[in-house]
Symmetry: C2
DNA sequence: GATACATGGTGTAATTGGTACACAATTGTA
DNA sequence: TACAATTGTGTACCAATTACACCATGTATC
């Protein structure tokens, strides 16, 4: 929650540069140690968790707005972003509307208005991200999909819709490419698929099928260090991957 | 194009009741005589064709806004509607912005502002629709997908994005159910699939596969009148259809 | 009313693709 | 050096899709 002074300062700026009524919320997915993660923010002095978000400048394309917002939260310049849904319930920001209602007169109260929020999901390489809080938050951090906090506003709906979208687009978007580091092992990639699809896959069939798509380069090296047989490393063949996605990876998962 | 007086009248109303910056555009699909159709509007005194659209009331959920807009254009109450994309280029309505720029002072010029448009696609039973122009148009009519006029603004992009979405969602949304009349023949349904997928399908395999899904009821009657063997009529088993869609119709087309 | 013809309905063999396993190879550790 | 755990590869089986052939039926033509 903002103090009255913070709210006034924010308004002095925001009221001039942003479009009214429109916000952007982002579901940023990362993958680390076999676990799917989402980037989240914790409000100042509250145990209230949000998705990273922001507003659209008056003459800014909405995709650029999402880019700009996420660059501030992650430090990454060219992020893989997909718009996936608009959340337009008039009561969706009611809590905020009322929280700040009495602090400022209506015409100066940026958070008093209704916001229609455009949902984007982002896929990033976990190691490239430098999580950075915004002016409303004191913490910006990865949260494990198995250990999520309670979301504020309708952000749980936004998150779940993003995950559903990811599942549906798995055969049509370069999801693996954007979530995995440049080099990875087959079991790691399988773990990603299992997390997104929320199911167990047969290790051997997964490998054969993945290789069958012809979108992976098998590298010479293996990943040593585990207590067992060292798996081979792979990287994506981006050209083949994108060509294959155009048709959709055959007959899905 | 509106006259200055019309513009002023529209503003007097619109400025009070609608959210700024936000519009809705709808791609309404119908299917008639083996052909896919889109509902379009022609501007007053111009050969300029648009998709039906409108604005969002200040306290109205966006889905309701789309419903309301389409009820006015079609007469249908409960329309199958799916939000599919947001079009947020700041220049997308430039032509309108400039067309009306000098007619009214900026603060009274509803069409002078930037609009971010939420795209909906609608699926309707062709025979239920009563096409009705709005205040900006003199014609509201079905246009064949093979004989489309030049679109105004970015409405061609909106239309194409809707058609792409339809193709991707064919196995996940009750598209057949909403586009076909209550009773239909197998060749008719096949034509719909061929149109959406833009491909030829084998008549015999299509039939077997469709029936294999268990989502159709074969009726006693046949469609007489054609110059050849009378095909059986079918209707959708809505319950089974929706259950099947939850999983996605197995392994797509 | 017999026949031609175009279209709809049903069946089947061949191929492809997916599933469920078995088994060998490799790594670090006891 | 043997062992446990994990990875890499192969194969037999089953299901689904494809590519056809053939039969049925309604209308038009003579």
């Amino acid at each position: 929650m903002l103090t009255k002074q913070q709210l006034e300062e924010f308004w002095a700026e925001a009221g001039k540069i942003y479009l009214n009524h429109i916000s952007i919320d982002c579901v940023v997915f990362g993958f680390h140690e076999g676990q799917m993660k989402v980037l989240m923010l914790k409000s100042n002095n509250e145990d209230a968790w949000y998705l990273p978000g922001g507003f659209v400048r008056k003459q800014e394309p909405i995709d650029n707005a999402a880019d700009r917002i996420l660059k501030e939260r992650t430090g990454i310049d060219e992020i893989f972003l997909q718009q996936f849904h608009v959340f337009g319930d008039p009561d969706r920001s009611k809590i905020h509307n009322e929280m700040y209602k009495d602090m400022l007169p209506e015409e100066k109260n940026f958070f008093g208005q209704r916001f229609i929020s455009i949902g984007y999901y982002a896929l990033v390489d976990f190691f490239n991200v430098n999580p950075t809080p915004d002016v409303f938050s004191e913490v910006c951090t990865w949260r494990d999909l198995n250990d999520l906090p309670k979301f504020q506003l309708d952000h749980e709906l936004i998150f779940k819709t993003a995950l559903d979208t990811l599942r549906l687009q798995l055969n049509y978007q370069p999801i693996g490419y954007n979530l995995m580091p440049r080099e990875f092992t087959m079991p790691e990639l399988q773990k990603l698929y299992e997390t997104i699809l929320d199911t167990k896959l047969d290790r051997r069939n997964f490998q054969r099928r993945m290789l069958g798509f012809g979108i992976l380069n098998k590298l010479e090296t293996t990943r040593k260090g585990g207590a067992h047989k060292a798996p081979y490393l792979y990287s994506f063949d981006l050209e083949n991957y994108q060509a294959a996605l155009k048709e959709g990876l055959k007959s899905g998962w």
